[in-house]
């Protein structure tokens, strides 16, 4: 157990944690000033026989100062965190070479679609969804869909390469959350939402659903495997072979 943030495993983690620390310092200073001030006032100005309070209605200069300082701090904070936000979620933030993975959420499982050898995800449409046969509604008539691989509750990504995830949901709102990547995005029925990240540390992690999605919300969990590119390619080939075997048999 750590009393700090989880290990960092994506390129977003460091700047987000930096921002966390910066805000912690700003709020920490304010916190100490206010609480120490309160305790001091409570002790220094406690009721004493014969004491009379100092009669004043305020002090404009003091009030202007303690209005201006938070205002300036907040504007600076807003500007600096907006820069990071645009890098993560902005309209043109997804890198051109990002590797696409489809994520389809339903009560209470995650379905991941991998693009196969062509590196392209096929078209999906909700009308084609059939339980077990075609859980994500992949349109097999699309040439790009021919070699797509669909796997339940396992997210495999290569390390050091941007990955763009396209989130869809079949029933209710779910939320895709990998704490070590510092990435979260809701999956909303009727919408197809793109979110990208770049894993930096090989290992296994977990995807959690972080939006209440029904009775077994707590069990809606998937594993994340971050591989080196070579390992990833080998894994993908192996899965492609498995998929082929399954469809021909």
């Amino acid at each position: 157990m750590t009393w700090w943030l989880p290990p960092q495993a994506s390129t977003f983690a460091a700047p987000i944690d930096w921002m966390f620390t910066a805000i912690l310092i700003i709020t920490g200073i304010t916190f100490v000033l206010v609480e120490v001030g309160l305790v001091y006032f409570v002790i220094a100005y406690r009721n004493r026989p014969g004491r009379k309070a100092f009669y004043t209605h305020g002090n404009t200069r003091a009030e202007v100062i303690w209005t201006a300082i938070p205002a300036v701090t907040m504007v600076i904070l807003g500007l600096s965190s907006n820069g990071l936000w645009v890098k993560i979620k902005g309209r043109n933030s997804v890198p051109a070479n990002a590797y696409p993975i489809g994520v389809h959420a339903k009560q209470f499982e995650w379905w991941f679609t991998y693009p196969g050898a062509d590196g392209k995800l096929g078209r999906v449409s909700p009308e084609l969804i059939q339980e077990t046969v075609n859980p994500t509604g992949l349109d097999r008539s699309d040439p790009a869909a021919q070699d797509d691989i669909v796997i339940r509750n396992q997210l495999h990504v290569p390390v050091g390469r941007p990955v763009v995830v396209t989130l869809t949901s079949e029933d209710v709102i779910h939320s895709f959350y990998v704490p070590q990547f510092r990435v979260r995005q809701d999956a909303v029925p009727g919408m197809s939402i793109r979110v990208w990240f770049e894993a930096t540390v090989p290992g296994t992690y977990e995807v959690g659903c972080s939006q209440l999605c029904g009775m077994s919300h707590y069990k809606m969990r998937a594993r994340v495997f971050v591989h080196t590119q070579a390992e990833y390619d080998a894994w993908l080939q192996q899965e492609a072979a498995k998929a082929k075997g399954a469809s021909t048999s």
Binding site: Y45, N47, S81, W85, V188, E206
Partner: protein, 588 residues
């Protein structure tokens, strides 16, 4: 005209021949209605607390039979072990009861009703019958919500925020009648809130005593007035959304169903367009009453009265343009996220003004440590933490990480419990003598405050840590996740603290009920306050004043030079005071 009204009331006050039912049940007296709201909301607070204890049992000791759990029916717990669907009902109803029926009714139902006419020198609310209707529709709403926990398939199961499509489709949530009763109850609740709000607004505008100018109003009344405006404009949006949700549930409409051309996110926009002003409905009255308490307890005029008023207005205005900060990761256009982040961060400014002004009020004061003042100091200390932790989630990139985790749970409880509820624990003993003619025990009040303060922090502060670890909200069993397993001892610690926090509230409830019958008889002005309410006998008669008081000054003239006592009531005429030139209209 005002003399005629006053005479009529004088007669009325002396010969109160109303029947028991008209006097205590279907009463139009704002004070009785306030007390009715007090009992309804304290009951809701208890319900919400009992639900919270069950949540904490499951989080701290997942899979273990809950003590007393065998008493629950098989649909809720199996062999004493809570079921996942019941757990979702618990979190849903805990939020619903605490937000709507406990805190909102305690602040707005109780104190807007009780304080506005008394503090303004009015005989009653502008529309006493509408006021009665407001209570009884809240009562119906409360009964429906309470009953929904005992229907087949259980209570609503979509969280208090009722995100669609989960809340709209019974096949997905597994709850049907309970889900519909939630919507119906909220529609009644909305009606109650609108009726109350328009009454408060009308009363403040029209029924102020002669000399009670806008800037002589106590900050509690200012806050309740601004809150009423928020309520009048925001709650109908919720009621409208609840009507759409009910249509979706029982008529099969498709407002929120993307499969048939609806929009799943529409609910979130409607809900939070209400929901964020609602957050300020839940804190502004607390801030207002704390201002009264801090000035009184410090025996000093409030520091920067005008900036306090403008800060209330500023918070209320900004409260309308920040709803999107609940939706940064909802799929809303990220560019909107930038806009909402800036407006959200700006709220820190008026909030900071208020905290610094409270501290300025205490500075060089003569601080009295009675229970109300202790709780007011607790409010300032804890609201500061809640306000500061809000900055973390206002920053969009950071929200992407901490959204929907226990960090948010910690934040909202620092504002709603550390803020609103501490203010309520200050306000209840402070105005208790005015309500019931007796004082609550100050000694037990202090014991209650110190223990609550301790266990409250031990309960909610560690939630920041589990939230930073990524602990998601509303998960039935955190040990399912490998990354959360190491935090289970901390979850146990939180749960044990929460049980002790709950046990501490027994002191409050016993003190409340015991003092009702055996408490010390209250003197006329027990807190040496300047407010008009303390010039009346306790409890005050129906119609309040025989002759409306005349107001000569603001409410915070404590320790004024040249006055022998350290307070100066608003209606005491000094030789230097002039009669108010123009008496405000005094409708009745």
């Amino acid at each position: 005209m005002s003399t005629v009204a006053a005479t009529a009331h004088a007669v009325h006050a002396h010969h109160d021949d109303r029947s028991f039912v008209r006097k205590y049940v279907f009463s139009t007296d704002h004070k009785i209605i306030g007390i009715q709201f007090l009992f309804l909301s304290l009951f809701s607070l208890l319900v919400g607390g009992v639900l919270a204890m069950q949540i904490r049992w499951q989080e701290g000791f997942p899979g273990q039979p809950m003590p007393g759990g065998k008493l629950l029916p098989e649909t809720m717990a199996s062999g004493g072990v809570l079921l996942p669907e019941y757990y979702i009902e618990l979190v849903t109803m805990h939020g619903t009861f605490m937000v709507f029926f406990a805190i909102m009714l305690l602040l707005v139902g109780v104190y807007a009703n009780f304080l506005i006419p008394l503090k303004l020198g009015a005989h009653d609310m502008a529309f006493p019958r509408i006021n009665m209707a407001s209570f009884w529709s809240a009562f119906v709403a409360g009964i429906l919500m309470f009953a929904s926990m005992f229907v087949p398939e259980g209570a609503a199961r979509a969280g208090w925020t009722m995100y669609t499509p989960l809340s709209a489709r019974h096949d997905l949530s597994g709850s049907s009648l309970g889900q519909e009763l939630w919507s119906i109850s909220i529609i009644f609740f909305g009606l109650s809130s609108v009726l109350g709000s328009l009454n408060y607004i009308s009363t403040v505008i029209n029924n102020r005593a002669p000399g009670m100018t806008w800037f002589r109003m106590p900050l509690s009344v200012w806050a309740l007035f601004i809150t009423a405006i928020l309520g009048l404009l925001a709650v109908p949006v919720l009621a409208g959304a609840a009507i759409m949700l009910l249509f979706e549930q029982i008529l099969g409409t498709h407002f929120f169903d993307p499969g048939a051309g609806g929009q799943a996110l529409l609910w979130q926009h409607l809900f939070w367009f209400f929901g964020h002003p609602e957050v300020y409905i839940l804190i502004l009255p607390a801030m207002g009453m704390v201002s009264d308490l801090v000035a009184n307890g410090s025996r000093k005029p409030i520091f920067g009265y005008h900036s306090m008023v403008f800060a209330i207005c500023g918070i209320a205005f900004l409260g309308w343009i920040v709803w999107g900060h609940h939706m940064f990761v909802s799929g809303m256009n990220p560019t909107l996220g930038s806009t909402f982040m800036v407006s959200t961060l700006l709220i820190a400014v008026p909030s900071a003004i208020k905290v610094f002004n409270w501290m300025g009020t205490m500075w060089r004061g003569n601080i009295q440590f009675h229970t109300p003042m202790l709780n007011a100091i607790g409010f300032v200390a804890m609201f500061t933490i809640g306000g500061l932790s809000g900055i973390f989630m206002a920053a969009t990139p950071l929200d992407m990480f901490i959204h929907d985790t226990y960090f948010i749970v910690a934040h909202l409880h620092y504002v709603l419990f550390g803020g609103s509820l501490f203010a309520i624990f200050g306000a209840i003993p402070y105005w208790y003598p005015k309500m019931f003619g007796r004082l609550m025990s100050d000694r037990w009040g202090k014991v209650h405050f110190y223990l609550t303060f301790l266990f409250y922090n031990l309960t909610f502060f560690p939630m920041h840590i589990t939230g930073m670890a990524g602990h998601m909200r509303r998960i039935y069993d955190p040990t399912v996740y490998d990354f959360l397993k190491p935090y289970q001892p901390m979850n146990e610690f939180i749960s044990i603290s929460a049980f002790l926090l709950f046990a501490t509230q027994i002191i409050f409830f016993v003190n409340f009920w015991w003092s009702l019958f055996k408490g010390e008889k209250a003197p006329l002005n027990p807190w040496h306050d300047n407010g008009l309410e303390w010039t009346l006998p306790s409890p005050a008669p129906h119609g309040n004043w025989e002759t409306p008081p005349t107001v000569y000054r603001g409410p915070y003239e404590f320790s004024a030079p040249g006055v022998s006592e350290d307070y100066l009531p608003q209606n005491r005429k000094l030789p230097t005071d002039r009669e108010p030139a123009l008496a405000p209209a005094h409708g009745d």
